[in-house]
Amino acid sequence: MTQAPEAAPASAGAAGAALPRTLTEAAAALRAGRVTSRGLTEAAIAVADRLDPALGTYLARLDEQALAAADAADRDFAAGVDRGPLQGIPFGVKDILATADAPTTAQSLVLDPAWAAGRDAPVVARLRAAGAVITGKVSTMEFAVGMPDPEKPFPIPRNPWDPETWPGGSSSGTGSGVASGMFLAGLGTDTGGSIRIPAAFCGVTGLMPTFGRVPKSGCAPLGYSLDHIGPLARSARDCAAVLEVIAGPHPSDPDCVDAPFRSGEWSGDLTGLRVGVVREHHFPAEADPALEPAVDAAVDALRGLGAETAEVTLPYWDEMCTADIVTMACEALAYHQPDATSRWGDYFASTRAILAIGALMSGADYVQAQRMRRVAQDAIARLFDRVDVVVCPTVSRPAPRLEPYLREGAEVMELFSFIHTGYWDCLGNPVLAAPIGFTAEGLPLSLQFAGRAFEEMTLLRAADAFQQATDWHLRVPPLAAGAAA
């Protein structure tokens, strides 16, 4: 951690006012009259003007609509109308989610634009109703899977900590946008790690809610039984504020249950919390040398806050990693089959590789994967009888350099040997990824906090306590600190 950047001071806004770093701080500042939504939004636009050409965060910027929404939020504040903590907050939306005021592409040549034209996904409608200021549609991997394809007419997403590296995916733009200050929070989706991977590589916080907590209709599907919509933001508390808005049943999603989310108290005290620490599988020989000391320090910090820690192992690790791929590939192929047979070359190379896996598996393989998921769900529930939260590294290595993965025939799947997220998608438990330090090269490292189904508040409280005691989540890439200053 020799080059870990300092927590940068609050940046200067368009009007010269000091701007808050987190959504939660911004919400308080808006209500105290220290900033306006227009000021926050103009500052966010200024950062995008400066950095987006280099980072490829946006697929579509909505500057005019955002400023209009900001003015509306300011008028509401002036009139005493308070729609909650997202009111007036600049917010990015992954371009796999339908929005009425902008095209939805899934970063693909294939998606029929008519599918989402003029319509908001339920989660987007909820953001608007809560007063969020949507600044644009942000980059994804094609249909939320794989890697960039330089042969296709879309920006290559880059990491604000080092633009030669990947910001992670598939919620690439949401991660890079939060890290660089183009917006204070955003929506991502997670089918094999697509919220937590960019959160890890970009040094921000990302929450995959429990499967069924948030309606996923209006999201171009990748894996119907694996897809989760959730927030990326600076802090666990920010993620809770977003989850509160987007959670709750919707009749269009048969998987979504009647379980709205409400934040609880943020005491910072973890006395009595039982934390299981996973080491098996997560520290391979190729792991970054800074990872284990960073994880040890994070676990020490949790212990210092009152948590009781014990080493645990995750049941059916290999089987769930396999089940995630089998399930994702088969469900994706079912969705894409008509286009894949007629427009194969229009898909990104890595998307084609995933669809091919679906063709190489049998119907029985798919069902067997679902039987294993049931067995593992039961086993993980028994583990959570013994502990309240499980922590484990999100990734074993930092953001990889992009160039090798942009070559024709690049072997993308090797990436997943050091990414430890797909296990949890198969189980449906909520998992939060939070920054815990940096490599010697100054790239972020990350820890996952997993909890029982529909008990997000337990892991959010643990991560919040950690973030009250540390400031890793507030670090800003030097590139962005320079642009905003």
Binding site: R119, S217, D253, T322, L360, R371, R373
Partner: protein, 76 residues
């Protein structure tokens, strides 16, 4: 994966099986893609086969549910 090994993977029984499965699904993969997929196929096949070898799953119900009363509701 070396180019020589990839070339080998595209031929032979594994390569023909992969070619047939992709063709059955109607996926017009290129020869280079077929070679790459064939090189990876034994690993995927072994991993999928391992799912059948877990004793606890022998009589497990899958994480799938059919609901007779379900109706399609538009989202916007």
């Amino acid at each position: 994966m070396s180019e020589q090994k990839t070339e080998t993977a595209g031929a032979g029984e594994t390569g023909e099986r992969v070619r047939a499965l992709l063709a059955a699904a109607g996926l017009p993969a290129s020869e280079a893609e077929i070679r790459r997929f064939a090189a990876a196929y034994p690993g995927y096949r072994a991993a999928a086969d391992a799912l059948y070898a877990v004793p606890e799953a022998r009589y497990a119900d899958p994480a799938l549910r059919f609901r007779a009363e379900a109706r399609i509701t538009d989202w916007a």
